[in-house]
């Protein structure tokens, strides 16, 4: 039985999980090779057994073992897509037939290699909307983060990163999710989960970021006024565009679903404000309007 099909109850640090590769099904034409790649919570270690050196994947944290098969990237053609669309309306029998065809196609390819990414993660955290597991889940290029504006100048806004939005796995198998793979920001059935940083903001332990004036919005980038986009204390949803140097991430809000999500009037002295359009927020109790670069709420 292949390692990825085995049922591990739980893995502890130091536990051997699987070799780096194994031989899978063998047919007359080819020999399948299964390769295992270490993911989060797993390391590739070298062991010596009977004087022979071997490599094996070993757990480094306590948690549940997951094998994720990596789909070999093939560019979907128009034909494939139209077939997919037909599948939705097609009967079950046809659908299964289609799947068989697909599998045959896969087998027919030259690459008989299967790749699995092995990860170990705390199963208690899975499925929760907010987790404290920020350390294993650091901001990287393309990540969506929630950040607080700490100071502004005319060229840039400095922020501290508070939480990282995780990639969602639709619990409902995508039935209620609105969009192919991309989740609705802050809402919808496939609501995002967050990894919250536990670092102390008053000690400067949090990760810092910079939103420079050119990265505030997508249009008219040279005429951005930071004062009319962010104020100190605002909570913004931003995307990491580069890791920058050691001290600052570079963030961007140049997208409809990015920008200020929470803000109070008069730099926090007034009431909570709500976005009424993409560059105006209003405080309902006083009626005062302030200009911000708002995130599209839904």
């Amino acid at each position: 039985m292949a390692f990825h099909a085995k049922n591990y109850p739980v893995a502890y640090p130091g536990q051997l999980l699987c070799p780096t590769f194994e031989l899978g099904e063998k047919t007359e034409t080819f020999q399948e090779i299964i390769r295992y790649v270490p993911g989060n919570g797993v390391t590739d270690e070298e062991y010596e057994v009977n004087g022979q050196k071997m490599r094996a994947l070993t757990a480094t944290v306590l948690g549940e073992v997951r094998f994720l098969e990596q789909v070999l990237q093939t560019v979907p053609t128009d034909e494939d897509q139209s077939k997919d669309e037909k599948d939705i309306g097609a009967s079950k029998a046809e659908l299964e037939q289609g799947k068989e065809e697909q599998e045959e196609e896969d087998k027919g390819e030259d690459n008989p290699e299967k790749v699995f990414i092995v990860t170990v993660a705390d199963s208690n955290l899975a499925g929760k909307h907010v987790t404290e597991d920020f350390a294993n889940n650091l901001p990287r290029e393309g990540s969506i983060v929630l950040a607080r504006i700490t100071r502004i100048s005319s060229q840039r806004a400095n922020v501290e990163i508070l939480a990282l939005e995780n990639k969602t796995i639709p619990v409902d198998s995508g039935v209620g999710s609105n969009g192919a793979g991309v989740t609705a920001p802050g809402g919808g059935s496939a609501a995002a989960t967050l990894s919250v940083s536990q670092a102390a903001a008053d000690l400067g332990e949090t990760f810092k970021g910079i939103i420079s004036a050119r990265d505030v919005r997508a249009t008219d980038r040279d005429r951005v006024k930071i004062m009319e986009s962010f104020r100190p204390g605002d909570i913004v949803r931003a995307q990491v565009i580069s890791l920058g140097d050691g001290s600052n991430y570079h963030l961007s809000t140049a997208r409809n679903d990015l920008g200020v999500v929470f803000a109070r009037a008069f730099n926090g002295a007034g009431g909570l404000m709500y976005a009424i359009d993409w560059q105006t927020m209003v405080a309902p109790n006083t009626g005062f309007m302030e200009s911000r670069k708002c995130a599209k709420p839904f």
Binding site: I152, S154, R231, A265, N267, T286
Partner: protein, 236 residues
């Protein structure tokens, strides 16, 4: 109406709409209540459209406000701006190279670190570093701004510098002019730059201005006489 007002008191304004708030008056963003936040003399002025309210109070820490004429000290120069100190231990302000008469990207102004400038506050957002300019941005002329060469600076309280600058009936400078010839630039940030041809006159003027802020205007004449007499009689 001139009356003493303390923080937390009520302003004596009848009309509640179109009230324009000046220094010392604060509108609470949550309760929308108007109240004084400084102790001083309540000043309210009514025009047809608006009521202007502010508290006339004395202080020494200058907070930049747009339109103020200030005397600043250049403390650093960067690629496109100077860093200017308006007051020791306060946050510096910026003076852009483009904020000079006939400025262009090619010719930079020739100010150096340590120079004094007379300038106008152009931007004073409380979340941002304030900006000053050495040019009247409406006309593009220099309007008396720029480098202050020589002379020396008297440090006075903010209320006194406002008195010197705005009260045309205040007699100190006319009195001083009877005794000595001088050039003066009054900064609302509590810095009064004064320059005379004679060093002893300059020193006497500086001492007089600094001393007179603590005395009634009736005593100014004798203070001027005393300072000039003692300095002019001293043997170098």
């Amino acid at each position: 109406m001139d009356s003493l007002i303390l923080p937390g008191d009520k302003f004596h304004v009848e009309r509640q709409e179109n009230v324009v708030l000046g220094p010392g008056a604060y509108c609470d963003p949550k309760s929308q209540k108007l109240q004084p936040v400084n102790a001083g003399i309540e000043v309210s002025r009514e025009s047809k459209k608006n009521v202007f309210v502010h508290v006339e109070f004395n202080s020494k820490r200058y907070i930049p406000a747009v339109g103020d004429l200030v005397v600043g000290l250049i403390t650093g120069s960067y690629s496109d701006s100077y860093k200017v100190s308006l007051e020791s231990f306060s946050t510096p302000v910026t003076l852009s190279y483009m904020a000079f008469p006939n400025a262009s990207k090619k010719n930079r102004p020739t100010l150096k670190v340590g120079d004094l400038v007379y300038a106008r506050v152009a931007k004073a957002d409380k979340e941002l570093e304030a900006e000053i300019e050495c040019v009247d941005s409406t006309t593009g002329k220099d309007a008396g701004f720029g480098l202050l060469e020589g002379g020396n600076v008297a440090e006075v309280s903010l209320a006194y510098s406002r008195e010197l600058a705005f009260n045309s009936e205040y007699e100190l400078l006319p009195l001083l002019a009877k005794t000595a010839q001088f050039e003066v630039a009054i900064g609302i940030n509590g810095k009064v730059w004064i320059k005379c041809d004679d060093v002893r006159h300059a020193l006497a003027c500086k001492l007089t201005i600094e001393e007179c802020q603590h005395h009634k205007s009736a005593e100014h004449k004798s203070i001027i006489a005393k300072n000039f007499k003692s300095l002019l009689n001293s043997k170098d």
